[in-house]
């Protein structure tokens, strides 16, 4: 770790604001490593999807001939209780439980090359993460001949997918279907050097309970055949529809430059459509402000129109507007801040009652939200859960879909960046202090909510870890979502709003349609600031410790008059005890004299961050001093005619990671009003409890 000058870091916002914005134009298309053409039919009686898949894969390497392919067969996670997913989750996820005897699986019934070579005999399940022989979520096949660099191979695959009753993202509930991770999907072939790899190879992880996904960009053409009374929504744009004599309809969806494909079907969906208009839904002032913030021209931040489709449960009809507005807020703020949403469509799915496990999930151009009938009307409609989920899942279009980090290995890069972005978008849309909840006088915003789970005890895991390695696994939420968001907020505190906005914009532009890793983000911070930030990321992202600065003690007392014999320029004087006592009493009475102020500021957490300390003396403006925050404490001593009123570490609360802000500041004259205000409320609650029992 490099020792840094605290004052230099604390002065960064001013320096960075003057930096020119890096101009990285948005890439128009991805590398399109894969091409999928899938024909799938849903059998609602057996809950099975039978499909054929024509898959073309281009070897992206410049040097390697590749002789095998690796696939995700993720529905096998639900095959039995011994899979890695089921062992890790215990059959429960986010409040939903696996249905009894409702298993899911996927069988590859045939796999051949376009030339007709049968690869099925070579198909073998592998377990690269944990060696669990009961896990069949990853398979490999050996090709008859290696694929040379830059050349392609085309496979014809037939498969049958048995959907489970939905409890973890995918499956059915009644007539509701959400098909995610439902087809044989290739892993990512990473040539040496890509994402820091020493040797080339496939990156194809097993399906874990606390993990999401990683795949390569390409084009998808998917034909979905379902009973004609079903409403279908999917990744991409619907390009055609064919009705058949047997009462089924084939819906064709196409989308380029995405790395996954999901779809839903339900006869009960209420379809709500609206266009996000780049002209009407964003004001000229918002374009101008964003352009100025990012150092771009208004044309560079101009957005494009998007067709929003909300597939709503009929019981949630009164919440249609809220879904649309939240989707528009996402399109606007993420688009302005990070770059135009490049797709023409966005589909928002409201899962059926009993299928909450399918809610709150992201797929390219297709997200699932989730709400309750209870939230249809006042006052529950002011609990903005649906808005938050919609904006968050939409935000994954930027942090997951467009910037495709490996969610298994570095979940914070999408969940953390997106949680931080969600909070900002919520605040921008619904207002500071009330963005999350405005319920019968109780208000809360998303930034406040982010801090709730942070504590000095949160110091046993690190942000940068494989998603299934957080221990206990319930810590995944804090370390992949909230703590990274707090780390980014803290980084913004150091860099300032403008520099942070430019950093995030550049990161997005540079890595759009690519697979970055954490080091790429760190390197960009160094590049854009011209400084080495390893001291920060080593502690906060790679390290485990907590951040907590506090005021250990603060005193400000009148200096007593000296007693005894003193030599001075005017000769020798003797101050008697009586004279000194008299002078001290006078000083006490008038409050005039010299105050000795001693403040001890401590670093109680293990993380060492530079901080500012603010001092407010009576009748004087606030003074600030920088502290590098490396020692366990620092003592500040002043002797001056003014008494200290208060002292505050990190007075602007730039360090959002600080686990406890209550101990950051100390007032020398305590104020009982905060405690009285809250105690009055608690007294009220307790009185009601006691009265309820006592008046029985």
């Amino acid at each position: 770790m490099r020792r840094i000058a605290a004052a230099m870091i604390l002065a960064l916002p001013g320096v960075l604001a003057a930096l020119p914005a890096a101009a990285d134009p948005l890439p128009a298309v991805s590398d399109r490593v894969v091409q999928y053409h899938i024909r799938a039919a849903l059998d609602t009686a057996s809950r099975q999807i039978t499909g054929t898949e024509t898959l073309t894969w281009r070897n992206p390497s410049a040097a390697d001939a590749v002789s095998e392919l690796q696939f995700h067969l993720y529905l096998n996670a639900f095959k039995n209780t011994r899979t890695t997913f089921m062992r890790e989750s215990g059959g429960r996820m986010r409040g939903a439980s696996a249905g009894a005897d409702s298993w899911g699986w996927i069988d590859v019934t045939s796999i051949r090359t376009a030339a007709g070579a049968d690869l099925k005999p070579s198909l073998a399940f592998i377990q690269p993460d944990d060696g669990n022989p009961d896990d069949q979520t990853v398979a490999r096949v050996v090709l008859p001949e290696p694929v040379s660099p830059g050349r392609s191979v085309t496979l014809e695959i037939s498969f049958t997918s048995q959907l489970p009753r939905v409890f973890a993202r995918t499956g059915y509930e009644g007539d509701f279907y959400l098909a995610g991770q439902w087809f044989p999907k290739l892993g990512v072939y990473e040539p040496a050097g890509m994402r820091g790899r020493a040797a080339s190879g496939w990156n194809c992880h097993q399906y874990h309970a606390e993990s999401e996904f990683y795949a390569d960009y390409g084009t998808f053409t998917v034909e979905i055949t379902v009973p004609s009374n079903f409403v279908v929504g999917a990744t991409g744009a619907r390009t055609s529809e064919r009705r058949h004599a047997n009462g089924t309809t084939t819906h064709v969806f196409e989308q380029a430059d995405v790395h996954d494909f999901a779809w839903t079907a339900d006869p009960d969906y209420l379809v709500v459509k609206e266009t996000f208009s780049a002209e009407r839904d964003v004001t000229p002032a918002e374009y101008e402000r964003t352009a100025k913030l990012l150092g771009r021209t208004p044309d560079e931040v101009r957005l494009s129109d998007v067709e929003i489709t909300v597939l709503l449960q009929p019981d949630h009809r009164p919440q249609a507007r809220r879904h649309i507005e939240a989707a528009k807020a996402g399109l606007k703020w993420y688009g302005l801040w990070y770059g135009r949403y490049p797709y023409k469509t966005l589909t928002v799915v409201d899962p059926a009652p009993g299928a909450s496990g399918a809610g709150g999930m992201e797929y390219p151009t297709f997200i699932t939200a989730g709400t309750l009938w209870l939230f249809n009307r006042w006052p529950f409609d002011r609990i903005r859960m649906l808005e938050e989920v919609t904006i968050h899942e939409f935000g994954h279009q930027f942090w997951y879909a467009l910037v495709g980090n490996n969610e298994f290995e570095e979940a914070w890069l999408d969940e953390g960046l997106n949680t931080w972005s969600t909070a900002k978008a919520m605040l921008a849309t619904y207002g500071r202090g009330r963005s999350a909840v405005e319920f019968l006088g109780f208000t809360m915003d998303d930034e406040e909510a982010l801090r709730v789970r942070n504590s000095p005890e949160a110091r046993y895991n690190r942000i940068l870890a494989a998603a299934w390695d957080y221990t206990p696994s319930s810590e995944y939420g804090f370390y992949a979502y909230e703590k990274p968001a707090l780390a980014l907020a803290t980084l913004e505190g150091y860099l300032g709003e403008q520099a942070m906005a430019r950093l995030m914009r550049t990161y997005h532009e540079r890595w759009r349609f690519k697979h970055p890793r954490s080091e790429d983000f760190f390197a960009l911070v160094d590049e854009m600031t011209g400084r080495d930030w390893s001291w920060y990321f080593d502690q906060v992202v790679r390290g485990t410790d907590a951040v907590d600065y506090d005021v250990g003690s603060a005193s400000s007392v009148l200096v007593k008059r000296g007693r005894g014999v003193f030599d001075g320029p005017g000769g020798r004087t003797t101050v008697s005890a009586a004279d000194a006592a008299k002078a001290d009493a006078e000083a006490e009475r008038t409050g005039k004299g010299v105050y000795r102020t001693v403040v001890v500021v401590r670093r109680s957490g293990g993380v060492r961050l530079p901080v500012e300390v603010a001092f407010k003396f009576e009748g004087k403006p606030v003074e600030r001093q920088a502290w590098d925050g490396r020692a366990t404490f620092r003592k500040f001593v002043f002797e001056r005619p003014e008494k200290l009123e208060w002292v505050d570490v990190d007075p602007d609360r730039r360090i959002a990671l600080d686990a406890n802000w209550l101990n950051n500041g100390r007032r020398l004259r305590a104020d009982s009003r905060p405690a009285a205000s809250w105690t009055a409320r608690w007294l009220f609650v307790i009185q009601h409890l006691i009265t309820a029992v006592g008046l029985m």
Partner: protein, 306 residues
């Protein structure tokens, strides 16, 4: 029924010291667990600059910091204090009810108010406590059985694709359990009123008598209870309206105003309960005019024979 409600309200209004005393007693009990809370919170919030935020509005992150703060989280004893206060409140409810029926029953008679209250409390304490135990056990068992039966009967609704049906099923189950518990607790009220009127000693018989009266006069008994429940709901709504439309209590004046409003609400709740007892007493007198009156005069002791 309306006459009884009016009579109850008049009775409570004519004895303002009675709700005041009951409110004061339970406020005192509530202070037992809350004073250590205030002390612990004030130690953390008082000197904190961050705590000034909550003078503007409730901030959940400050609350989270407070809860995890080592000084403020040492609140085990206030929790024990709350449990102790609830236990004392439960036991003393028998005394309070005895004092209440005595004051309401002999409101027009001469003698100091406190003497009448404590005399009634002492006279009926043992009997009312036993009655309360019988009623609580009965209410618990009956409510449990009814809610299980209703939940079972409504289980198809719980799995319905029509989402409101799930809420409806839960609400109906809760309502059935509450109505059953309410029935058994209202029976407790009438049993106590009848014990005070008749001077009965056998508590099981007295409780069955109360239950019988309640069942025979179901509409009136529930009518009275619902009327007071509605008044209580109006009080709660008035409070919520105040909370929703008043800025956070930031100044001492605003904190004092909030405290006064809250205490007025608690007092209102106590007043309504006293009035309800008055109304129930009026209903009992109206429906059982020939009941044997209890012996007048001071009690020789809660366990002495009549």
């Amino acid at each position: 029924m309306i006459a009884s409600v009016r009579a109850g309200l008049r009775a409570a209004a004519s004895q303002p010291k009675l709700p005041l005393l009951v409110w004061g007693w339970y406020a005192l009990l509530a202070l037992v667990p809350i004073l250590p809370v205030f002390s612990a919170w004030n130690a953390v919030l008082g000197p904190s600059t961050e705590a000034q935020k909550i003078l503007r509005r409730f901030d959940i992150s400050v609350y989270a910091d407070l809860v995890q703060d080592s000084a403020a989280s040492a609140m085990g004893s206030p929790l024990r204090g709350l449990i102790a206060a609830l236990a004392v409140a439960a036991i003393s409810s028998a005394f309070v009810f005895g004092g209440t029926v005595e004051v309401l029953g002999r409101g027009g008679e001469p003698g100091p108010f406190l003497q009448r209250f404590f005399s009634g409390g002492g006279r009926y304490f043992g009997r009312f406590l036993r009655l309360a135990l019988v009623a609580a056990a009965s209410a618990l068992l009956a409510a449990g059985a009814v809610s299980a039966a209703v939940a079972g009967a409504l289980s198809p609704l719980g799995g319905s694709e029509w989402e409101p049906a799930r809420y409806l099923a839960a609400a109906l189950t809760a309502a059935a359990a509450l109505a059953t518990a309410g029935l058994f607790l209202l029976a407790l009220d009438y049993a106590r009123i009848q014990v005070a009127r008749d001077g009965s000693r056998g508590m099981l018989k007295a409780y069955l008598g109360g239950l019988g009266f309640t069942l025979r006069n179901l509409a009136s008994v529930f009518g009275v209870a619902i009327a007071f429940a509605l008044m209580l709901a109006a009080l709660a709504l008035a409070y919520l309206a105040y909370e929703a439309n008043t800025p956070a209590a930031g100044s001492w004046g605003a904190i004092a105003a909030l405290s006064i409003v809250m205490q007025a609400i608690v007092f209102g709740r106590v007043f309504l309960r006293v009035a309800m007892v008055g109304a129930e007493r009026h209903l009992d007198l109206a429906r059982r005019p020939a009941a044997r009156p209890a012996p007048a005069g001071p009690s020789p002791g809660p366990t002495s024979p009549a």
